[in-house]
């Protein structure tokens, strides 16, 4: 059985991210089992709910939300990468208001190890 893990490293305002999401959607249309998507480097910015993209531009997070709800697509966030990019996810975040988008699961790089070992293909975007 083909199992796919996807690593996203580009921010929500980049057209490179459109490619990643188009790829994921195509995989879902082909009934590929996606074990999870891991957001690392600038990819972590997807979880920052303070980022607002003009409504006439591509809405990466809205698309991810739809895929998460419709297909149960697992969205894992590297918390170290996220904190560096202004995302506060719990009460320990030193006075910052919590601004993590709840569709994301707070993870560490250990989750990337687990996605890699549980998949037959790892594709980086």
């Amino acid at each position: 059985m083909d199992k796919l893990a996807v690593l996203i490293t580009t921010p929500p305002y980049s057209n490179l991210t459109v490619t990643a999401i188009d790829y994921i959607e195509a995989a879902l249309r082909l009934n590929v089992n996606i074990v999870g998507v891991f957001f690392y480097q600038d990819g972590a910015l997807h979880a920052n709910s303070n980022i607002h993209i003009a409504s006439d531009e591509y809405q990466a997070v809205a698309k991810l939300t739809q895929l998460h709800q419709e297909f149960g697509l697992a969205l894992h966030l590297c918390i170290t990468a996220a904190e560096k990019r202004g995302i506060a996810c719990d009460a320990l975040s030193e006075g910052s208001a919590i601004n993590i988008n709840p569709i994301f699961t707070v993870s560490g790089l250990g989750e990337l190890v687990s996605l890699t070992t549980n998949s037959t293909r790892l594709v980086q975007f």
Binding site: Q41, L109, V113, T117
Partner: protein, 120 residues
Amino acid sequence: MTTNLLAIINSSAPYNRNLGKESLDVALIFASFEQGVSLFFQGDGVYQLIDQQNPQKISAKDYLKTFSAFEFYDIEDIYICQESLTVRNLSESFHIDNVQVLPPETFAKHLAMHQQILRF
């Protein structure tokens, strides 16, 4: 012959961007979960290995010094693209030992032995 799960290609110079450090973090986590990882240095990535660097001069974190812990993490398969060194007029003088400088064909052959490949 390696049975390592993951190969990481490092292709970025160490300081302008954070890619080298982010790549190192991935390598160390795979190793600490006892998943074999091999490191490949190609293109500007070879600058991560050059001896006698002084990152404190530019207030950069000296993450390269963590490379000396590779042995402790059982990261033993470290390959450097010879062509990338030659093109940059670099000698084989690195800040870590136990690295292998390989011509592109051998470099490619070692890379192909891994199940998954990431590049930073």
